[in-house]
C-alpha cells in the first residue's frame, strides 16, 4: 500500500529557520528515515540529517517526530496517522547546526567529567574474573547507544539551559551507576566515592525521577528504575542515613 504523506521539516540553522512542507510517497514497511532520504533524493538535496546504521544501533539519527524525541530509523510510518502531517524538528535541547543536525558536544563534555573505570591493583589484563550475577546490572546500561534522546528529553536541561553546567543528564548518571555497581571498579581504594560525586559534581539531586528518559530510550533501558533510583538510594546511604554512615565509619558495615 502506498500513500502520499505530508512532511513538515524544520529547515534552518542557528540564525533562524522555518518549517518546509513536502508531499512524499510512502511505501509499506518504511520508516521515517526512509522518507527523509527520499526527500533528499527527490526534493531537498541540501537537507542536512545525521544518520549511519539505519538499524537503531548507532544512535545518530535522533530527532523529534511530532514533538517526541525518537530515532528516525526506528519510527515506522505505520505508527503515524496517514491523515496527519509528520512534523520533524532537530533535537530541541541542543544547539542546532543545520536542519536536523544538532551540536551534541554537551554530552561529550559531560562524559569527560566522569572518571572512568579504575582497574583493581594486582590484576593485569586478562586476569579479571567476574561472576555473571555481579555484572548483569551494568550490562543493561552497556546497551546504551548514546543517541542522547534521554539527554534531549530531560526537562532539567531541556527547559533550563542554566542547569547544563551542573547536571550530567540521565545518560551520564547511568554511567556513574554502572561504574559504582561494577564488581572490579577500584574507585573507593583510589579515594574516589562515586556516590558523593554523583550528588555533588554530576547533579543527581536535580533529577526528579519523572521517567522521561526511560520513556524515550530506544534500547528500553530502565534508566530511572535501575540506574538513577538505585544511585539515589546509594547517595542516601552516604548522606542521609546516619546509621549506615556511622556503621561504615566504625567498621561495622563490611565491604561488599
Amino acid at each position: 500500500m502506498t500513500y502520499q504523506a505530508e512532511f513538515r521539516v524544520w529547515r534552518g540553522d542557528s540564525t533562524g529557520g522555518s518549517f518546509e512542507s513536502y508531499r512524499v510517497e510512502v511505501h509499506e514497511g518504511e520508516v521515517v528515515l526512509d522518507l527523509v532520504h527520499r526527500l533528499q533524493a527527490t526534493q531537498a538535496p541540501d537537507l542536512a540529517v545525521r544518520w549511519n546504521c539505519k538499524a537503531g544501533k548507532c544512535g545518530s539519527c535522533s530527532a523529534e517526530i511530532n514533538g517526541r524525541p525518537r530515532l528516525l530509523c526506528m519510527t515506522r510510518m505505520s505508527t503515524l496517522s496517514p491523515d496527519e502531517p509528520v512534523v520533524i524538528t532537530p533535537l530541541r535541547a541542543f544547539p542546532v547546526l543545520r536542519d536536523l543536525v544538532t551540536d551534541v558536544s554537551f554530552n561529550y563534555a559531560k562524559a569527560r567529567e566522569i572518571p572512568g573505570f579504575i582497574p583493581p591493583a594486582g590484576l593485569g589484563p586478562g586476569e579479571y574474573r567476574m561472576q555473571q550475577e555481579d555484572v548483569e546490572r551494568s550490562q543493561e546500561f552497556r546497551k546504551c547507544i548514546e543517541c542522547f534522546l534521554c539527554q534531549d528529553t530531560c526537562h532539567v536541561v531541556r527547559d533550563h539551559e542554566e542547569n547544563k553546567s551542573v547536571f550530567a543528564g540521565p545518560r551520564f548518571l547511568m554511567r556513574v551507576a554502572e561504574l559504582d555497581m561494577h564488581p572490579l571498579d577500584a574507585a573507593a581504594e583510589a579515594g574516589l566515592d562515586r556516590r558523593a560525586t554523583a550528588q555533588d559534581v554530576h547533579g543527581l539531586g536535580y533529577c526528579n525521577i519523572t521517567k522521561c528518559c526511560t520513556e524515550v530510550c530506544p534500547e528500553q533501558i530502565r534508566i530511572t528504575d535501575n540506574a538513577l533510583i538505585p544511585l539515589k538510594e546509594r547517595v542516601a546511604d552516604l548522606k542521609y542515613h546516619p546509621l549506615v554512615w556511622l556503621g561504615s565509619r566504625i567498621g561495622l558495615r563490611r565491604k561488599d
Partner: protein
C-alpha cells in the same frame, strides 16, 4: 503550523539562543495531558474521601472488621476493638480523630515514594507536564534543596510501613471471627480485608528503597546468594510498582468504605461460614 522564517531564539528553555528557532513550545499531537488528568482525578478523589473519613472519627469498627485508616489505635478515644492493636501511646489528651495519628505514616510513605513523586511532579507541579512538553517554571533546582531534599527520607517511611503492614495483617486474622468473637468464621469483609492487605504488602515490598535495602546496595551479588534472590524477587514486584501503588490506594479506600457501610448499617456483611 507557522512556516514563516523565524530569527534566532532569544528566550529560555527550548527557545534558548543557539537552539532551533521553532516557534511552538511543544509539538506533541497525542493526548499527553490525559495521564496527568487521570492522576489528578484519582489522587484528589482519594484525598477528599480519606480526609472526610479521617476526621469523621466514627463507623470504623464493624465487629470483627476494623478499618485500615484506624489501625493501630494510638489514642485513648478509640472504640475498643476486641483483641485489636489498641495502644494508648498518646493518652486521653488527644481529642481529634485517632486516624490522624496513624495516617501520617502511610501518607509520608506514599508522598516520598518514587512512583508518586513522578505522578505528582508531573500532574500537580507540571515539572514537566509530560515528556518534551515545557514546564512553566523559570527556575528549577529539583531535589537539591529544602523541602524536596527531604524526599531522601523515603527509606525511613519504608521502615515504618513494614510494621504497619504487619498490624493490618493481624487485623485480617481478627476478621476471621464472627460477631461473637469466635474463630473460624468469615464474612465477605474478611476477604475484603485479606485482599487489601495482600495489595498493601505487595506495594510495600515493591518499594525502591526496599529493593536497595534487601540487596541493591551490594556490589557483589555472588557473595550474597540469598540477598541476590531477595533482590530479584523485589525487582519483579518493583516493575509493577505503579500498578501496585494505585491498586493498593484504591483497595485501602474501598476497604474503609466497606467497613463504613457495614458499621453504619447501610450494608449487611454476608456471612460465608
Amino acid at each position: 503550523m507557522v512556516s514563516t522564517e523565524t530569527g534566532p531564539p532569544t528566550g529560555t528553555g527550548v527557545h534558548s539562543p543557539g537552539r532551533a528557532a521553532v516557534p511552538q513550545r511543544q509539538l506533541r499531537t497525542d493526548r499527553w495531558w490525559l495521564p496527568q488528568l487521570a492522576t489528578v482525578t484519582g489522587l484528589l478523589a482519594f484525598i477528599g474521601y480519606s480526609t472526610w473519613r479521617a476526621f469523621e472519627g466514627a463507623h470504623y469498627y464493624a465487629p470483627p472488621y476494623v478499618s485500615p485508616f484506624y489501625s493501630p489505635c494510638l489514642a485513648a478515644n478509640c472504640v475498643p476493638v476486641r483483641g485489636g492493636a489498641d495502644w494508648t501511646l498518646f493518652g486521653d489528651w488527644w481529642r481529634l480523630s485517632p486516624a490522624l495519628l496513624v495516617l501520617i505514616f502511610p501518607l509520608g510513605f506514599r508522598l516520598t515514594c518514587y512512583y508518586y513523586r513522578k505522578a505528582y511532579y508531573r500532574a500537580f507541579w507540571s515539572s514537566p507536564p509530560a515528556c518534551a512538553v515545557p514546564e512553566p517554571h523559570t527556575r528549577y533546582t529539583g531535589e537539591t534543596r529544602f523541602p524536596l531534599i527531604l524526599q531522601n527520607l523515603h527509606r525511613y517511611f519504608f521502615y515504618v510501613a513494614v510494621p504497619f503492614a504487619m498490624i493490618l495483617t493481624y487485623d485480617v486474622a481478627l476478621g476471621f471471627r464472627n460477631t461473637g468473637g469466635e474463630w473460624g468464621h468469615a464474612g465477605l469483609g474478611s476477604f475484603v480485608l485479606l485482599g487489601n492487605v495482600a495489595l498493601i504488602w505487595a506495594y510495600t515490598l515493591s518499594c525502591h528503597s526496599c529493593r536497595h535495602i534487601v540487596g541493591g546496595r551490594l556490589k557483589h551479588f555472588s557473595g550474597h546468594p540469598v540477598r541476590h534472590r531477595l533482590w530479584q524477587f523485589v525487582g519483579r514486584l518493583n516493575v509493577r510498582h505503579m500498578l501496585l501503588a494505585w491498586s493498593s490506594l484504591a483497595s485501602v479506600g474501598l476497604t474503609d468504605l466497606y467497613v463504613y457501610l457495614v458499621s453504619s448499617g447501610a450494608f449487611g456483611d454476608p456471612q460465608l461460614f
